[in-house]
């Protein structure tokens, strides 16, 4: 059996005197889409932040392709695309400038696809408009354009569809499914009912939540 | 003993104020550093005990 892409062992996390999850174990393999579910405050965002390496407030072990995250931090970041609560878009820069800067941070980004990606998220014509003149949804789409540019195998997406219209959501779903089919891995949280429902593995944090 | 009388001891050769002030401040610093955590400990125990009483009926 091949080593799983991402393996979580005995994860324990406590926040503000509340145990969010303890002895949490799961694996995510290539070609899988994992949807993390749970009520508000069940620790979805916290879990994704822990998995991305942003948050260190946990006990337990996380392995990326068999290696502990602490030992392969740089490799892991190279293979990760993270979409957080804030879109990570500078308001005074244009979409193009934002993505260029992102590319300078992530050498794996293919900038030649920049216009194609912006067109795909419905921003063609806005490439050189400052982002603060765009709507909240458009700002999130600037950030989502990274999905079309990136070749990172692991996507961690925290509520990627907030403020995105139905057509946009459908397109992103297709993209996510395609990414999984090509051997990518996606971990996401969303309040949207996904059309690709049956292909998704679910992880419900409510059942795991520790007692007070 | 380097002093002849108690009055001389208090006077410290004219530097009594300086010397005794220094030792007094030292005493205050040492005592506060001991008393403060002890009082804090009492407070923690009272707080935690009442919290436990509060939570007991639930479980």
């Amino acid at each position: 059996m091949p080593t799983p892409r991402l393996k979580i062992e005995n994860l324990f996390c406590e926040r503000d005197d509340r145990v969010l999850f303890e002895s949490l174990n799961f694996e995510v393999n290539a070609g899988e889409v994992l949807q993390v579910e749970g009520q508000n405050g069940s620790g979805k965002t916290t879990l994704l932040r822990i998995l991305s390496g942003l948050s260190r407030h946990f006990e337990g072990d996380i392995y990326w392709q068999g290696q502990s995250l602490d030992d392969c931090a740089q490799d892991y970041r190279e293979s990760l695309l993270y979409f957080g609560h804030q879109p990570g878009v500078k308001a005074v820069l244009t979409p193009r400038e934002n993505l260029r800067w992102y590319a300078s941070m992530h050498p794996a980004i293919d900038l030649a696809k920049l216009d194609y990606a912006l067109e795909k998220v419905g921003l063609s014509g806005y490439e050189d408009t400052a982002c603060h003149t765009l709507s909240a949804g458009q700002n999130r789409r600037v950030s989502l354009a990274r999905l079309y540019l990136s070749s990172a195998p692991l996507w961690i997406l925290d509520e990627p569809f907030t403020a995105i219209d139905k057509r946009g959501v459908a397109e992103k779903e297709v993209l996510i499914a395609a990414h999984a089919e090509q051997g990518g891995t996606v971990i996401l949280t969303t309040h949207h009912e996904l059309a690709m429902g049956d292909k998704i593995r679910r992880l419900n944090l409510d059942q795991l939540a520790g007692t007070l | 003993m380097s002093f002849e009388s108690f009055a001389e001891f208090i006077d410290m050769g004219g530097h009594g104020l300086y010397v005794w002030l220094s030792y007094a401040i030292a005493l205050i610093v040492i005592v506060t550093n001991i008393v403060n955590p002890l009082m804090h400990k009492r407070q923690i125990f009272i707080e935690q005990a009442s919290r436990l009483r509060r939570e007991k009926p639930k479980s």
Binding site: Q86, G88, L93, S104, M105, A112, Y116 | -
Partner: protein, 242 residues
């Protein structure tokens, strides 16, 4: 990828140029561009610098002899406070819009990115302050002999202020009320720079050899330059994690 290029043929050159941008140049260019777009951030510390220096003749004494005596200290304190004021925003906007998360998650060495951000900050505050300092020197009747000392000491000292201040900014970035706290954390570490900076100006006025002062300012700068990014990086990871 041919479908992307045709509309902007001029752009393809820039794209490939952009591709070779390392993390250092990428971050530096971005921060310079950002403050170019928000010019008030650029000008405010300078206005503050001028205003503080104006307060002294008005508030203490307009006597040229007295002002000449205190000028080195006043200019240095004003520069220090102006730097401190601009410090809080160094990582805050990045933290609020989520770009800081993206920086921390990038595979590029954080050391480089942080160094570039601090360099950008210095180019936008410390350098203009240094260039403006002779004007303040004239306003405060600083003898002409002291001008070179003033400019060189600020040139060597202000980058250290930016580097040390960035540590404070990184430690407080996750806190809502970081502004006052940052001064509390950073000012003690600024004191040595202030002492040797103003002493160098004083020395220049009285015609003492300045080599020693500049050497110490230079030593603090090079130590800060290599060590501060490590502390800033660690502090950022901690702050974002919390």
């Amino acid at each position: 990828m041919s479908d992307t290029v045709p509309n902007q043929p001029a752009d393809s050159g820039m794209v490939s140029e952009c591709k070779v941008d390392g993390p250092f140049w990428g971050a530096l260019k971005r921060d310079l561009l950002l403050s170019y777009r928000r010019k008030s951030d650029l000008v405010n510390p300078l206005i503050f610098f001028l205003m503080v220096a104006t307060l002294f003749p008005l508030g203490v004494s307009p006597d040229p002899g007295f002002l000449a005596d205190v000028a080195p200290g006043v200019v240095w304190v004003a520069a220090l406070l102006a730097t401190l004021l601009s410090m809080d925003s160094l990582f805050r906007s990045d933290f609020e819009d989520g770009t800081l998360e993206q920086i921390l998650l990038s595979p590029q060495p954080l050391y480089m990115v942080v160094l570039a951000k601090v360099l950008a900050h210095w180019m936008l505050t410390g350098l203009p302050l240094t260039l403006l300092a002779p004007l303040l020197g004239v306003m405060l009747f600083l003898p002409a002999d002291g001008m070179s000392g003033l400019v060189i000491s600020l040139l060597l000292g202000t980058p250290t202020l930016s580097l040390v201040g960035a540590i404070g900014a990184a430690l407080t970035v996750g806190l809502r009320k970081g502004g006052v706290l940052i001064s509390l954390l950073v000012l003690p570490l600024y004191i040595p720079v202030l002492i040797f900076g103003s002493a160098a100006v004083q020395g220049a006025v009285t015609g003492l050899p300045l080599g020693g002062y500049f050497a110490i300012l230079g030593a603090m700068l090079s130590l800060g330059l290599v060590m501060a990014p490590l502390a800033i990086g660690a502090a950022l990871r901690i702050s974002v994690s919390g």
